[in-house]
């Protein structure tokens, strides 16, 4: 009996989650290896909802393929269609009119607002604070109404077409006035929310020091977007994009890299998005919204990177007889999977879900692999 007690070995327990699990909205598989309720290792497998949009895009006319990229993700649909159009515009040398560029920026920043508000709402739901979650869903409705007004649909509202924006997305004075009023309302409500959120001792004690990623590790794991900036690395692709040249905005960073920094990061980015939208509405130039004077030709593989709400999005394809060839899409959540696994390690098992959610996962975007991994 005593021998057994002395020689006993600690059995490493595995807690599998998913692919369909109550705590996770989207299907993915997370394996947590725990020892005394502390997560020692984590492994995430995606690929459950792989549909193969690139496969459908192969051989389609480029205009059709552009509108198909919208169906990759229901949260950041505009950024996919924008980047897909941008790839063809770079390849064919199409100049986008200035007004169209401004309207695209307005749509993209509205999308950033609704994506970040959704992230905050989801984060608060995982925290267990449903009142904040409902409050944020209510604030988000203002953005959804604006997107529905401009794009004609609440969710798949992509504005870009090859060479400009759709005629439906033309902004007249009434729409601009509604955007101005909406921005005032959102700024007021988000400020009120942020004050209450920061001054809530219960929430702060729950999220401070949980799921820490250091800036060194975030760079090593090749994170992108707000997940990287929340660890203290000031890296934003918007500063390098020519589309954002006319606008003044700050690159927000946070220091700690824990869940608190990640959540506050999104709150502050919302204010920056509001700032950009206000500048775009104020300085909206007159002129055409579509450039139709271009010619289709065969091009080699062209790449395009843009900054979307979750990080850096990459599209590339070649054109052959006006049809898409060799399409590759790489989404920001793909780069952040490493951070999701890493953030779980060393923390209590109850914090694992929060550590995954803090990196803003979007697994519909992520499942872009050409080869399906057997689960």
């Amino acid at each position: 009996m005593d021998d057994n007690k002395q020689n006993r070995t600690v059995i490493e327990a595995e807690i599998p989650m998913g692919p369909v699990h109550p705590a996770a909205l989207e299907p993915y598989r997370l394996r947590l290896f725990v020892e005394d309720e502390i997560v020692r290792d984590a492994e995430m497998t995606v690929g459950v909802n792989h549909r193969g949009v690139e496969r459908i895009m192969e051989g389609l006319p480029v205009e059709k393929a552009n509108s198909l990229t919208e169906k990759i993700c229901g949260i950041c649909s505009n950024s996919h269609i924008w980047n897909s159009c941008r790839t063809a515009e770079i390849a064919l040398g199409i100049e986008v009119p200035e007004r169209a560029n401004y309207i695209r920026i307005i749509m993209e920043e509205l999308e950033r607002l609704h994506s970040h508000l959704l992230y905050l709402a989801h984060g608060n739901e995982v925290l267990g604070h449903e009142t904040f979650s409902m409050r944020l869903f209510y604030i988000r409705e203002t953005v959804m109404d604006l997107l529905g007004m401009i794009g004609g649909n609440r969710v798949q509202y992509g504005s870009a077409v090859l060479g400009g924006v759709r005629p439906r997305c033309q902004l007249d004075e009434m729409r601009l006035q509604k955007i101005r009023e909406g921005m005032d309302l959102i700024e007021e409500k988000v400020t009120a929310f942020a004050d209450r959120f920061v001054s809530d001792p219960m929430i702060m004690s729950r999220i401070t020091g949980v799921g820490v990623i250091s800036s060194k590790d975030a760079l090593r794991l090749a994170c992108s977007g707000p997940t990287l900036r929340a660890t203290g690395v000031a890296k934003d692709l918007r500063t390098d994009m020519p589309e954002y040249d006319p606008f003044e905005f700050d690159v927000i960073t946070q220091d700690d890299g824990d869940v608190k920094s990640q959540l506050l990061m999104r709150v502050f980015e919302n204010f920056e998005a509001i700032k950009i939208i206000r500048q775009a509405v104020r300085d909206l130039p007159e002129g055409p919204i579509t450039n139709r004077s271009w010619e289709m030709q065969d091009t080699p593989i062209t790449k395009s990177y843009i900054e979307v709400p979750r990080g850096t999005l990459y599209h590339s394809y070649a054109l052959e007889d006006g049809r898409v060839r060799n399409c590759v899409i790489r989404t920001p959540s793909m780069a952040n999977i490493g951070a999701m696994q890493y953030a779980c390690i060393g923390h209590h098992i109850t914090d694992a879900q929060l550590s995954v959610v803090q990196c803003d996962p979007c697994f519909t975007c992520t499942d872009r692999a050409i080869e399906i991994i057997k689960i």
């Binding site: 909205l25 299907p27 198909l68 169906k71 229901g74 959704l118 988000r140 969710v155 798949q156």
Partner: protein, 148 residues
């Protein structure tokens, strides 16, 4: 009205299953129940993630091969009486993913929800609007309330 149907009507639990769509429909469904603007909770409709306490199963997305078996298991775990609502163009007829591989049988899509489990109400749209979701849920309610 029997006591059973009275109590069932007072607490309709909706379970959302996501089978590989684009997230748009899912967020609209969560939005329509949680958001104070649409607020289905005021009509005693609650969101749950546990199939054993669910009454209505809302399915979104074209069912991918990996999700086919979990969907069947979830459907079987829900106690009778139950109703299934398919929401969104993908769940109804496969959406843009239907002809993923042309005429070749698809390796990734197991087809619309109809092929796998019986569907009682269909909500069209890409993505579905919250108003339509509430209408679809209401149209499925007689199945629950009239069962003995």
């Amino acid at each position: 009205m029997s006591l059973k149907s009275y109590s069932r009507g007072r607490a309709v639990h909706v379970m959302l299953v996501y089978t590989g769509g684009c997230n748009g429909c899912d967020i609209e469904i969560v939005n329509c129940i949680l958001s104070p603007k649409f607020d289905a909770e005021q009509y005693k409709v609650f969101l749950t993630w546990n199939p054993r306490e669910a009454d209505v199963l809302v399915v979104t997305g074209p069912v991918t091969k990996h999700n086919e078996q979990p969907l069947r298991e979830i459907y079987n775990a829900i106690p009778e009486p139950k109703a299934v609502v398919a929401a969104g163009a993908c769940a109804l007829m496969g959406g843009v993913y239907k002809n993923c591989h042309g005429d070749i049988p698809s390796e990734e899509i197991a087809g619309p929800v109809d092929n796998i489990i019986p569907v009682d109400a269909k909500v069209p749209g890409c993505a579905v609007r919250p108003q339509d979701i509430v209408a679809g849920l209401v149209s499925a309610l007689p199945l629950l309330l009239n069962a003995d």
